[in-house]
């Protein structure tokens, strides 16, 4: 596995696995984060994964207390430890990728921009729904907001630029499109995404462990449902 290390401030190190967003990088990233999930050592505080990087936060005092090198820098000790730990990670061909189905009620009041997305791309709303719900998606990372998934794999046929004027409030669990990206807002936020539907499913689960429905590496399917089904599944009006 190729990677480079560099500091993020005086408490963290960025492990960079590549310069482009691609599946190989995503898989290496998953190997590292699963390794940390199982082997989080005392001096490690936590990690934040992104598209091409994993940033590891550490406690410089604990690093020093556990080292005999009293004149070394915590950062250098951390890098030495990391090189040794990362060298132990080997690619395993485990097919443990989860497939998560997200039911979506498209259009209407729940997806006020569906018509715009259709017109922008010269399609009917039904075609937009068909294209959006038949895509094979993968969660590259969780970030920006609690449980918010950065999803890759949306068809260019329904790509639509962000609204010129962002909305001040987007209701929780709204499914949207921004450029070539699609995503689901777990909590109420302002934003310029084109809103095409809403899911009754909670993505942020503060009382559960882990507190998110989705994880990096998950495959996603969007399943169209009717408004009646949406309400039956507990969707907000």
């Amino acid at each position: 596995m190729n990677y480079s290390l560099q500091p993020l401030g005086d408490h963290a190190v960025i492990i960079e696995l590549g310069e482009d967003i691609n599946l190989e990088t995503q898989q290496n990233l998953k190997l590292i984060t699963s390794f940390f999930d199982k082997n989080l050592e005392d001096w490690m505080v936590e990690y934040i994964p992104a598209f091409t990087t994993v940033s590891l936060f550490y406690d410089p005092v604990k690093v020093m207390n556990q080292s005999s090198k009293i004149h070394a820098l915590p950062y250098d000790i951390v890098c030495t430890k990391l090189r040794s730990l990362l060298g132990r990670i080997h690619a395993v061909n485990e097919d443990n990728q989860r497939l998560v189905e997200i039911p979506v009620c498209y259009g209407g009041n729940l997806g006020p921009d569906l018509q715009f997305v259709a017109e922008h791309n010269g399609l009917t709303p039904e075609e937009v729904i068909h294209i959006h719900s038949s895509g094979n998606y993968i969660v590259y990372m969780i970030g920006f907001a609690p449980g918010f998934p950065y999803i890759g794999g949306m068809s260019e046929k329904i790509a639509t630029p962000r609204r010129e004027t962002p909305r001040l409030k987007i209701p929780p669990k709204t499914v949207g499109i921004a450029g070539q990206q699609t995503g689901v807002y777990p909590i109420e936020t302002p934003g310029g995404w084109q809103l095409i539907g809403r899911t009754p499913v909670e993505l942020f689960l503060p009382d559960e462990e882990p507190p998110t429905l989705l994880r990096a590496g998950d495959k996603i399917k969007f399943k169209p449902i009717s408004y009646k089904e949406y309400l039956e599944l507990g969707g907000d009006k």
Binding site: G9, I21, V45, E46, I48, Y150
Partner: protein, 333 residues
């Protein structure tokens, strides 16, 4: 227990932050000024991570419903008890029925009120910090309102010894201050227009020569669009040599990022977990308590510090905090 008579501008329960959940996009929250928070806890005999009340600019009015030990550290927001001024950076014994209030902000913008034993609030995702935007943690996931009551935990061993030592001297006064305070070299100077030590950020080399020079030579004003999430600064426009999009990655407390419109943003306690803007710099940890006390209208300048020096300064600061703790233990155990 204490009761909030007036809530002040923004008073919330915070500890050292919610760690371990940023990988799920859950922001860290926690106090803005960790140094003042920690010392406030140490002075009343608490563990450093006990939640304190973070008080912002216009302080609350608080009624104490039982005798307790408190400490107020951080910005000087003119605290007084029953009308008499009390000093900050000190252990204070408060009698039941006393009223703590605040006046103008003399220095800094945030004060940290610790009580012996800490406050009774539930732990959410391993932390008692209030995550204001998601409405979780702290006291009912929100800032204080008038009429809120917050109970205290039973004080620990050290707090009890300190309490008894001071209770004996209090007599019938509504409060007394401890006869010693924190060593002055541990108390940060909260100047208006502070100079902040900054490491070059990961994307510093991508900025234009002019922007690199301006970043370390000009001053930047803290705008009113500044809060616990970040300070938006205004000054010289900073630009990349070749404008382009970056791939989002982790940010941290004190990351200074520059959106394409050119005004830097300093990310603070309620920062999002990742960001896609170029990071021109990173505030050294020892100066985070200084920037956390800046307020809108202040002018900030950045001076360069190497990553190596920043780590050494941090370890030195931690040593001093440990000495303060040991000093109190030696005196009272």
């Amino acid at each position: 227990m204490l009761t909030v008579v007036k809530p002040g501008l923004l008073t919330s329960v915070q500890d050292l932050g919610r760690y371990g959940y940023q990988k799920y996009g859950v922001i860290a929250s926690g106090v803005m000024d960790q140094l003042s928070h920690r010392i406030s806890n140490i002075l009343v005999g608490n563990e450093e991570n006990e939640p304190t009340l973070e008080i912002t600019l216009l302080g609350p009015v608080i009624h104490f419903d039982k005798d307790t030990l408190i400490s107020i550290c951080g910005g000087d927001l003119s605290p007084s008890i029953n009308g008499d001024p009390v000093r900050i950076w000190r252990t204070i014994f408060v009698k039941k029925g006393s009223k703590l209030s605040f006046g103008p902000a003399i220095t800094g913008s945030r004060a940290y009120l610790a009580v012996a034993g800490g406050f009774v609030v539930p732990k959410v995702m391993d932390s008692k910090s209030t995550y204001l935007r998601a409405g979780i943690g702290g006291f009912e996931g929100r800032a204080f309102k008038a009429g809120d009551s917050l109970p205290f935990n039973l004080p620990g061993e050290l707090s009890k010894v300190l309490f008894e030592y001071m209770a004996l001297q209090a007599g019938d006064k509504p409060f007394i201050e401890m006869d010693w305070s924190v060593a002055s070299d541990l108390i940060p100077l909260h100047q208006k227009d502070p100079s902040i030590r900054v490491m070059k950020g990961k994307h510093y080399p991508l900025f234009s020569q002019e922007s690199k020079e301006k970043f370390f030579s000009q001053t930047f004003e803290v705008t009113p669009q500044s809060d616990r999430m970040g300070y938006r600064l205004k000054g010289s426009f900073l630009q990349l040599e070749n404008p382009g999009e970056l791939i989002s990655e982790a940010v941290s407390f004190g990351s200074i990022q520059v959106p394409s419109e050119g005004n830097p943003i300093v990310l603070l306690a309620d920062r999002q977990t990742t960001g896609g803007y170029p990071k021109i710099g990173q505030i050294s940890s020892v100066d985070l308590p200084i920037i956390a006390q800046a307020k809108p209208g202040d002018h900030i300048s950045f001076s360069e510090v190497t990553h190596e020096t920043a780590q050494q300064l941090f370890l030195k600061r931690e040593k001093k905090i440990k000495q303060l703790k040991n000093g109190i233990l030696l005196k009272f155990r």
